[in-house]
C-alpha cells in the first residue's frame, strides 16, 4: 500500500469504520510512513476539536422575531387563536351575575339594532366596494382615456383611497359599538379579541407601508384589503358576541366564540 492508496482510508480509520483487513493493511503502511502518521494525527485532532466546539444558545431576540412572523402568518391564514366555545360558555357560567346585569332593556335593544344596522350597512358598502374586481393596470391602460402611465397610477390611487375611506368609516363605527359594549364581555375574551385586533392592525400598518412604496402592486393592495376585511369581520363578530352575552344566550355565545376569527 502506498500513500495515495492509504490516505482516503485515514478518515475511516479515525472514525473506526474500517474493516479489520483494511485496517491491518493501513497500520502496516503507517508503521513505515511518517507523513501518513502525521496526517492521521492531524485528522484526529481536527475531529476532536470539532466535537469540542461549544454549543451556542439562540438569542431570545430571535424568538421575538419568530413570534411576530408566526402571528402575522396566522392572522393572514385566518387562524387566530380564540377561546374555545366551551371556554367561553364556561366563563359565562362562572359569572351569572355579570350576564344578568347586562340584560338589555327594550329601548337599548332597539337602539343597538339601529346602530348595528347602520354599521353593517357601512361595512357592507365597504366590502362590496372592495370585493368588486378592481381594474388592473392592463385593463386601465387599454382604455384610451387612461393611456398615460401617470394617469393609470393616479386613477388606481384615487380608487384605493376611496375604498380605504369606506373601510375606515365602517371600522370606526364598529369599533365604537364594540367599545361601548365591551364591558359585557368576559375580560379574558375581551383581552384575546383586543390582542387579535392588534395583530390585524399591525398587518394593516405594514400593508399600507408596502402599498405606499408600490402603489400599483396587486399583492400589496390585496394584502391591505384582506386585513381591512378581516378587521371588519372580527369587529362584527365581537358585536354579535356582546349582544348574545347581554341576552344571556350561552348557546349563541358559544357558537359565535367558536366561529370568531375563522372568517
Amino acid at each position: 500500500m502506498n500513500c495515495s492508496e492509504c490516505q482516503p482510508a485515514l478518515s475511516e480509520l479515525v472514525d473506526g469504520t474500517l474493516s479489520r483487513d483494511a485496517r491491518a493493511r493501513l497500520e502496516s503502511h503507517l508503521e513505515e510512513c511518517a507523513d501518513c502518521r502525521g496526517l492521521l494525527a492531524d485528522l484526529r485532532r481536527i475531529r476532536e476539536s470539532a466535537r469540542a466546539l461549544p454549543k451556542i444558545a439562540a438569542p431570545e431576540a430571535v424568538w421575538q422575531k419568530v413570534r411576530a412572523d408566526f402571528e402575522a402568518e396566522a392572522a393572514r391564514d385566518k387562524r387566530l387563536t380564540f377561546p374555545s366555545p366551551v371556554t367561553a360558555a364556561a366563563s359565562m357560567e362562572a359569572r351569572p351575575s355579570r350576564v344578568l346585569r347586562f340584560v338589555p332593556t327594550r329601548r337599548r335593544i332597539l337602539a343597538g339594532l339601529a346602530a348595528a344596522a347602520v354599521i353593517v350597512f357601512a361595512a357592507s358598502a365597504g366590502v362590496y366596494f372592495m370585493t368588486r374586481p378592481a381594474p388592473t393596470a392592463s385593463q386601465v391602460s387599454s382604455n384610451p382615456a387612461h393611456a398615460e402611465p401617470a394617469q393609470v397610477v393616479e386613477s388606481v390611487e384615487a380608487e384605493l383611497a376611496l375604498a380605504d375611506q369606506h373601510y375606515e368609516k365602517a371600522i370606526a363605527g364598529l369599533e365604537k359599538a364594540a367599545k361601548d359594549g365591551q364591558s359585557a364581555l368576559d375580560p379574558q375574551v375581551a383581552a384575546v379579541l383586543q390582542k387579535n385586533i392588534g395583530v390585524i392592525d399591525q398587518a394593516i400598518v405594514e400593508s399600507r407601508a408596502a402599498l405606499k412604496s408600490q402603489p400599483t402592486s396587486e399583492v400589496a393592495r390585496s394584502s391591505l384589503f384582506e386585513a381591512l376585511q378581516k378587521k371588519v369581520g372580527l369587529l362584527r363578530d365581537t358585536i354579535a358576541l356582546i349582544n348574545e352575552m347581554r341576552k344571556g344566550d350561552q348557546a349563541g355565545t358559544a357558537k359565535i366564540a367558536g366561529s370568531l376569527g375563522k372568517g
Binding site: 502525521g38 492531524d42 481536527i46 476539536s49 469540542a52 419568530v66 408566526f70 387562524r79
Partner: protein, 186 residues
C-alpha cells in the same frame, strides 16, 4: 436521533391551527439544535436570520408534514436545506470559493505561529469551517460537530453514504490545509 415523538403530528396540527403556545413549544424544543446548525453552517452573523427563516418556512410547510420522521428530523432537514441554499446563494454572489473537488490549495486562515491557547484554536477552527465549500461544510458539521453517522448524514443531505464519507474526508483535508497544520505534525 430519529425517534418519532408521540405528539409530533398533534403538535404540527396545533401550530397550523394558529395555536401560539404550541408554536412556541415547537420553537423552544428545537431552536437550540437548529441554531447551532445555522451558526456552524452560515456563521455567527447570519445564524439569527437563518433561524428566523427556518421557523417561518416551517410554519408555511407544516401542512406537508405527515409524520414519516420525527418533527425534529423534519425541521433539521428543512434547516439544512435553507443553510445550503443560503450558502450557495452567497457563494454565487461572492464567487470566493468553489465547490470543486479538486481545489486543495486554499489559503491558510492561520499563521504558522498559531497561538497555542484552546480559545484561539477554536476560533481558528470556526473560521476554517466557514471557509469550506457548502457540501464539505455540511458533511463536516453534521458528522464531526453534530455527531451524526454517515447513514444519517446521507439521508439529511440526500446523497449516498459513500459520498458522505468522501465529502467528510475532503473536508478534513481542506481544514488541515486551512489550519496550516501540514508539515507540523509529530
Amino acid at each position: 436521533m430519529s425517534d418519532i415523538g408521540i405528539g409530533d403530528r398533534e403538535l404540527a396540527a396545533r401550530c397550523l391551527a394558529g395555536d401560539r403556545e404550541a408554536f412556541e413549544g415547537l420553537y423552544r424544543q428545537h431552536a437550540h439544535r437548529l441554531y447551532n446548525l445555522a451558526y456552524r453552517m452560515a456563521g455567527s452573523t447570519e445564524a439569527d436570520d437563518l433561524l428566523q427563516d427556518v421557523f417561518l418556512q416551517a410554519y408555511r410547510k407544516l401542512g406537508s408534514y405527515k409524520g414519516e420522521s420525527s418533527l425534529g428530523t423534519w425541521l433539521y432537514r428543512l434547516a439544512m436545506n435553507l443553510c445550503l441554499d443560503h450558502l450557495r446563494s452567497r457563494q454565487g454572489k461572492m464567487a470566493l470559493v468553489t465547490d470543486s473537488l479538486d481545489q486543495e490549495d486554499a489559503a491558510p486562515v492561520v499563521s504558522q505561529e498559531r497561538p497555542a491557547e484552546a480559545h484561539a484554536a477554536r476560533l481558528d477552527l470556526e473560521q476554517a469551517i466557514e471557509a469550506l465549500p457548502p457540501s464539505y461544510r455540511a458533511a463536516f458539521v453534521l458528522h464531526d460537530v453534530e455527531g451524526y453517522q454517515h447513514d444519517e448524514v446521507a439521508k439529511l443531505l440526500g446523497i449516498a453514504e459513500g459520498s458522505s464519507k468522501s465529502l467528510l474526508h475532503k473536508a478534513r483535508h481542506r481544514l488541515r490545509t486551512l489550519l496550516g497544520a501540514e508539515g507540523r505534525s509529530e
